[in-house]
Symmetry: C2
Subunit: 169 residues, 2 copies
C-alpha cells in the first residue's frame, strides 16, 4: 500500500468525489449546480451553493426561493449549456428547449422535462467568506414522475459528468 | 413521457441521488457519513451533517475538529460497521482493524488505510431545527495517496452503497 503524502488543503479538496448534478431555477433562469446536498430529512430541507458573481445569485437574493430539478442523461446538452452560459446574456429556456412551469408555492419556475422538481423557500444563507454562499431551502412541495429511479442521477466533478455505478454487496 | 405527480416534500426528498460515503473521525471514534459536501474551493472548506443523538455529536462539540477520510470499496465491511454501531459501546478501530494516526493540526485522529484524509477545524455550526446539524470545517492540512482516483469513491443512499459509473460524453 502506498503511503499518503501531505499536500495542501486545496490539493486535498480536489480529490473530493462527485455530487449529483441538478438544474436549479431561480425566477425564470436556469443554473447547473453540483454544489448541492440534502440538509434535513424531517422538516425536509436541501441546500445549494452559488458563486456570488453568478446571475442566479442576484436573482435568489430577490426571489428568496428556487426550484431544484433532477435531470436525466438525455438532458446532458441542456445541463452543459446551462452550466456554461449566463442568464444575463440569453434566455436559457429558449436556448435549450426546456419548458418552464409556474411554481405553485414559489415565484421561481420549475422544469417540465425533469422527472423530479422540488419547490424550495430560502430559510437561511451561509457565508463563510469562501467561493460559494450556501442557501438552505425548505421544500414546500415537490413533483415526481412515477418511473423515476435515483440510479438515473448524473454525477459531476470538474470537467466530468458520470453515471451512477453498480450496487455494492 | 409520464407526467409528474405532486407529492409531499418528504417523498420528494427521498428521490435525492446518492452522495459520497466518508469515514469521519472525531476524537478517537469513527462515524460513517453521507451527509457531506464541499463548502468552498478557495479558503477550502467542507461540511458534514450529524444527527444530534449520535456519540460523535457529543465529541465534536468538545474537539471542534474532525478528520474526513475517503474510503475505497475494500473498506466496505468497516464502512458498514462504523455506520451501524455506536462508539459509546465499542472501540471502532479495534473492531474494524483500521489504524488511527494522530492528527498533526487537530486533536482527532485520521485513518491510515484511507487513501485521502483531510484534517478539519470546525468554524461554524448550522442548526435549522431539522434532523441534522451541520458543521463547516476548514481544511488545515491533508494527506493523499499518489495512486488515488476519485472514481474509487463509494456513493450512498438509504440501504444502498454504489460505485461511481462511466464518464458521459
Amino acid at each position: 500500500m502506498l503511503q499518503k503524502e501531505e499536500v495542501s488543503p486545496e490539493a486535498g479538496l480536489m480529490t473530493f468525489p462527485g455530487f449529483p448534478v441538478v438544474l436549479v431555477c431561480v425566477d425564470k433562469n436556469i443554473i447547473t449546480i453540483a454544489a448541492v446536498s440534502f440538509f434535513s430529512f424531517v422538516k425536509p430541507m436541501v441546500m445549494i451553493g452559488i458563486v456570488p458573481s453568478r446571475y442566479s445569485f442576484e436573482l435568489i437574493k430577490k426571489t428568496q426561493d428556487f426550484s431544484l430539478n433532477l435531470p436525466t442523461t438525455e438532458l446532458l446538452p441542456a445541463i452543459k449549456y446551462c452550466g456554461s452560459h449566463s442568464g444575463r446574456d440569453c434566455d436559457k429556456f429558449a436556448e435549450t428547449g426546456l419548458t418552464p412551469v409556474p411554481g405553485k408555492k414559489i415565484t421561481s419556475v420549475f422544469i417540465e422535462e425533469c422527472p423530479v422538481s422540488l419547490e424550495c423557500k430560502v430559510i437561511n444563507e451561509i457565508n463563510q467568506g469562501g467561493t460559494h454562499i450556501w442557501f438552505i431551502g425548505e421544500i414546500v412541495t415537490s413533483y415526481v414522475r412515477k418511473d423515476y429511479s435515483r440510479q438515473q442521477a448524473i454525477l459531476y466533478w470538474p470537467r466530468e459528468y458520470r453515471t451512477v455505478g453498480n450496487i455494492l454487496k
